[in-house]
Amino acid sequence: MARIELDNVSLTFHVRQLGRVTLKEYVVRRMFRRSVNPYVQVEALKNVTLRVDAGDRLGILGHNGAGKSTLLKLLAGIYPPTSGRRSVQGRISSLFDIALGFEPEASGWENIAYRGYLQGETPRTIRAKMESIGAFSELGHFLDMPVRYYSAGMLVRLAFSIATAIEPEILLIDEVLSVGDLAFQQKARARMREMIGKAELVILVSHDLPSMAQLCDKVLWMDHGQVRQIGPAGEVIAAYMAHVQGNAGLVGATAAGSLPCRRLPAGREYQAVRWSVPHLPPGFYEVQAAWPARFDQAVDAPYQVFDGNQPVATVRVNQQVPPVGNVIDGVAYQSLGTYRIDSGSLQVELSNRATRDVAAASVRVVPLDRPQPLVVDDGHAGYQQEGDAWLARLVRDAFGGSVRVAPAGDGAHRARWEFVGLEPGEYDVYASWVPQEDAAADAPFHLWDGPQHRATIRINQRVAATDKFIGGVAFRHLGRWPIQSGMLRVVLTNDASGAVIADAVHVSRVQRLPAIVRTAADVLPTATLVGRAA
């Protein structure tokens, strides 16, 4: 039986301030007893005690630098503990830094073999898997070429295909769920699930909380090298999110525990709760939902929005974590998006077509006063850029058909979108981009209210935005901000981990018209509970 145990393990890195030491320096220092390049101690892990048994699916979360990846590498046997004891039963397979460690001169096929051997394959067993690995990577005839001609994305594909071709006992995974382009990502996720299902014991490090909630039953929260909390996935993730939102100064999400709630068990028989809001003047409406978070609920609870009887969209939410967004009367609501309603009636249906139970508590519909979205696109009035390395790219999916791309740098390259003459009030800010593989995972958008810096929001531009769609182009919500000066400035700088992409920025004023709330109590007596055959 596979098992991993850590007993009071600590790990301290000794890092030299000025990089590595030379023998000359070492001798001189010994002679004159004075160091100009002293050691700095970094306590990466402090007194971690942990036991993971066969059958466990453990997720590790925490802020950057909390020691998640270090812990994983220590579990894998790559870092030795400075103190404490590590004991492992079972063969470990690890998925981290997978894009590294290729032999550049060797072909894709050869690299498959090398990696395979390192993972414990023999020429006979790897030969049997070669074909399927090559097919999964979809690299075709590129596999005959030396891998030094591969793009970064191709390397990751190949690495992922090899790394996941094994049948692991203990599987350690670090942030590999976002691999390659969108189509490949879906395939990768499916493969990942399959592997996680097969392995006896899985430990997963990720910032992708919905995935983690779905894949793991236990979660460990690392904080500054220490175990802050360990327990059932839903509980720890909720606590972590509450902590992060508290830290960021955003409104704290409260569980919708005080609302009447109807639970729909996942099952073959179709069940749904439908909220309906009649007599709406044509216009734009934001739909919001609240639910009580529970760790045994669905991560893909489907809310379907109808304009009259016409389905407009299906939004899936993770009901294992609390809603994130506005708090109204102590209840947190999460936006399901903004919709144009023409028929005069808006309906929202939550069904049990999910992997686990869903909870129907409350829906809120907020009329928006500004039907025309305010958008400034790259290259248009209100858009300016600084720095000479900006490249314009024509992309079909971009707003206005083009984006501007600047390589990573020191922040001297800036793109600026300005909105003037705004009425004082609260505004929702959105940005769009077209994801590319070498884009920054932390593209910084700085928000200014006139001379006042409001916030810097770092966005992962390798993945697509999904918060709002205008003219078929996806926008990402950058938050809701008060604007007093009448001028809102959004600045994107290139001090990021990869290329930054400037497309359009969109703002919309938050209208404080009275919201219409429908709770589960509203729908139950009037028998709008819909039951249909599967």
Binding site: F13, H14, R20, V21, T22, L23, K24, Y26, K73, A76, G77, I78, Y79, P80, S94, F96, D97, I98, L100, G101, F102, E103, E105, A106, E110, A113, Y114, Y117, L118, Q119, G120, E121, T122, P123
Partner: protein
Amino acid sequence: MVSYLAAIWQCRYFWLSLVQMDLRTRYRRSVLGVGWSLLQPAAMTVILCAVFYHLLKIDLYYFAPYLIAGLACWNYILTVTLHGCQCFHRAETYIRQYPAPLAIYPLRTALGATFHFLIALGLAIAVALAVGVAAKFRASADNRPAAAAQESAVLEVGAAASTHARLVDHPLAALYLLPAILLLAILAWSLALLAGFANSYFQDTQHLIEVGFQLVFYATPIIWPEDRLRSTAWVLQWNPVYHLVRLVRDPILHGAAPPLGTCLIGALTVALAASAASLVLARYQNRLIFRL
């Protein structure tokens, strides 16, 4: 120790295929292929033979195989040490992902170099045989005893060298090379490992090694004839590299086993290097990851 070697054996397919790939990439882009690795010692031999023949009127029948065998040995030891400096850095990405035994990375370096060494050794044997046959042929053509023929050809080189037996007379003596090659291979692995660790801890190791080896090179009779150093022979007696070179050179040159003392000192040197490597490995292998 045994379990460590077993772990190395377990991932044999990995390091063997890396060695294979190293060799292939090295030769893939050249028309001459394996010939390239022969070109350098061969050219060096031709040049040095020409120089020494004109300066010292040396016996080429003796000196050419002497030089080739010596250079083969020397290049082997030098290459594994210098390439060994980089062995862990080259493998950094593997080390960061898989806790495989670290000794496989210097082994990769050592095996690659061993391949070139064997080729160079083959060349040395071929030259020794060719020279032997040529000397015999010339002796019979002159209708004089072989020893006398050689004596006339020798102007400066001492009598011991001129009347020596040759590999062509005792071809089975080539078997003495097998234990010598084994010893040198163990030495190569140990040196690559030590150099790798040293370079990971002190990044100027490679320069120091280059300087140090320059000294050893001139303190060892590789390009200069051994019998020129009669007055300072003690330098040779205390130079382990000299004995290691003789382990290979004696069978090729004289068709005879090296003297017992040379064998013992050679074996002792290899044993010392191997123990040092094992100690360093046992003590530092867990901590290397922090130095990469």
